[in-house]
Symmetry: C2
Subunit: 423 residues, 2 copies
Amino acid sequence: MPHPNDPKLRSFIDVDATSDFPIQNLPYGVFSSKDGLAPRVGVAIGNYVLDLWELEQDSRLDVGALGVFAGPTLNAFMALGPKVWSQTRARISELLRHDNPELRDNSELRSRALVPMANVKLYLPIAVAGYTDFYSSREHATNVGVMFRGKDNALQPNWLHMPIGYNGRASTVVVSGTKVRRPRGQLKPPTAEVPSFGACKRLDFELEMGFVVGQPSKMGEMLTESQAEEMIFGFVILNDWSARDIQQWEYVPLGPFQGKAFGTSISPWIVTREALEPFRVHGPAQDPAPLPYLKQAQANNYDLQLDVGLRTPAMNEAMRISRTNFKYMYWSSVQQLVHHASSGCAMNVGDVLGSGTISGPDKDARGSLLEISWNGTEPIELPGGAKRTFLEDGDSLVMRGWCQGDGYRVGFGEVEGTILPAE
Amino acid sequence: MPHPNDPKLRSFIDVDATSDFPIQNLPYGVFSSKDGLAPRVGVAIGNYVLDLWELEQDSRLDVGALGVFAGPTLNAFMALGPKVWSQTRARISELLRHDNPELRDNSELRSRALVPMANVKLYLPIAVAGYTDFYSSREHATNVGVMFRGKDNALQPNWLHMPIGYNGRASTVVVSGTKVRRPRGQLKPPTAEVPSFGACKRLDFELEMGFVVGQPSKMGEMLTESQAEEMIFGFVILNDWSARDIQQWEYVPLGPFQGKAFGTSISPWIVTREALEPFRVHGPAQDPAPLPYLKQAQANNYDLQLDVGLRTPAMNEAMRISRTNFKYMYWSSVQQLVHHASSGCAMNVGDVLGSGTISGPDKDARGSLLEISWNGTEPIELPGGAKRTFLEDGDSLVMRGWCQGDGYRVGFGEVEGTILPAE
């Protein structure tokens, strides 16, 4: 049987070469069809969603635990572990192949199990156990450092020695399409004597990838590189909405709190680690060499292109304001997870770890408005003459990402969010 | 019917005047008896645990949702809201009163529903949704500030304007009695050129109170003082174990991460907000006046005495190393919750919010070894001549807390933890 990543595989479902969801991808999500079925687990294939709960009930798919796909999250499936993840993906690939009549020629099952993507509603695909946000792009950390501390002290002394991160707020991780309300908070611009409370004036996005932990680790135990890798179920695009002015006044000495707590958006489809395998690349050289617990024997970065678009209420379509690549990250996801557990911190099924803002070496590869507008001093010019330094009410932010194969893409779809005015 | 807080109430169960669990308290926990029953919800009364699931099955207790007390956490009960909390406590009080024969004279039910405390195992009483740690004692923040920045810059500029806090790690919140492994991590003492990875050398505790959020708030919405108060289910004693050396090297600019992620211990009994009502007091005067969203119309502090004891393997009993009071906190729990939700951050049933280290005005009222040993320069002398600046392997830390009524105490029991050596 060919491997599910085989570039030659074809499905009996027509999939365009620019689609994010060819048979080589098979990302997992949670959906309901508009005819009112309860949310359940599905896989994206071309313009369709394959209903895994229907396949399970029809005995076409057996993961050894009936009902795993019937629920509104992927957590029960993830808990079954990497062998089951791999076997399940292989079986789904088999069912969708152009040369397998099992589903292709069973029109009754097909009509139950294949739902046009246009007819579904997508949900947050996991119950988020914990949300942690890293800060692992050297270009981003340097840009921010230069802005606030000058060129000579841009990187903090610890930055090159470990993946710096903080615990974020899991309760406000939401799925693409969820509107995000402009937060209120304490603001104290440098010119003000005392703080005031009001609507954020410097509302920003941060382009990140997130990964989903699918297996637990125990309190008191560390992880090796290979243990950490095996625990990673898959990846999403992540928008870490940020209120720069709230953050600036609150963050010394305990870090970001309300400036990052009002919303984090993720794309609805979790692309499995296995599907990204063909796109592994080495990250940037790490100098100084990481301490032994952070050493990597493998290439743990991914060649994954990322686009950010901004659409104001006056625009018909989004304008691209950034194009970058996940491969630029200095610290890999595996290193982040190893470091996260290094003190004996238990990891849980459903933990989401954000990469940190992904900026690249070029000026057009910056992953936040803070950097794109250079702290508000270089506004973006939009079609029609409007300008933006930070986000205004009604603005929509759209991120897309994909790995480019030979004649196909392994893509993530998009994560979109629109800003509601402060209450 | 007398109010459950009435100091004159007596139970048919003998309760000593120094017991933490008179009929005026009735704290909730999760227990199993040694004869192998599954964990379920109980209430502490004197030296007994009252099995609420037995009472529910016997139709003596009806909260409108059967099975709420059968599970291993209090979350389902908390979700029912403050009216049910109050009605349930009143009913339990009624059942335990000396002048009510219902349970008192039903020896069959009594033998099923009253389990000697000595025969039970106690569990983490809630599924912790999120864990947030504040920094709200002015004395603690000042002590730490003086040590690291000198007297003139002790308090950060934002400290007097809002309750400073950060998101902690919910996955390692554990119940009293859970052993805590000394963490490993990156260490870079000021004298070292480069960091190394190894066992923490400056392991500390932090004496805190935690409160448990029992009702949710919506993403995008703020809370008023009274809304926040109504959401608080109850309080626990909380030990925020801290690796000072790991924290010191990692915390700029995103705050504590692995230095606080390896364990947080809480006491097993949740004392309800209602039981603490008679012990409300005003906190310290707040100057400057808080911004309007943080203003308090009520006294939201509690006169709650706290003791910390240290027991080394060579000692038979713990020696008291601190005595302080929860009333000293500058920012109240209600203000912390209002601030936490101020950006529109959704709060969930089962969120735990730590007060921050509780230090008092006197030298013997310091809530951490960092302060007690003044950053390691003034060791504690223990019986037998041993000394401590920070915790050593095998050391046990015991915290107790209670509100003193007239002839009775509303107490928390204890939170205990013993340090295991690094692996």
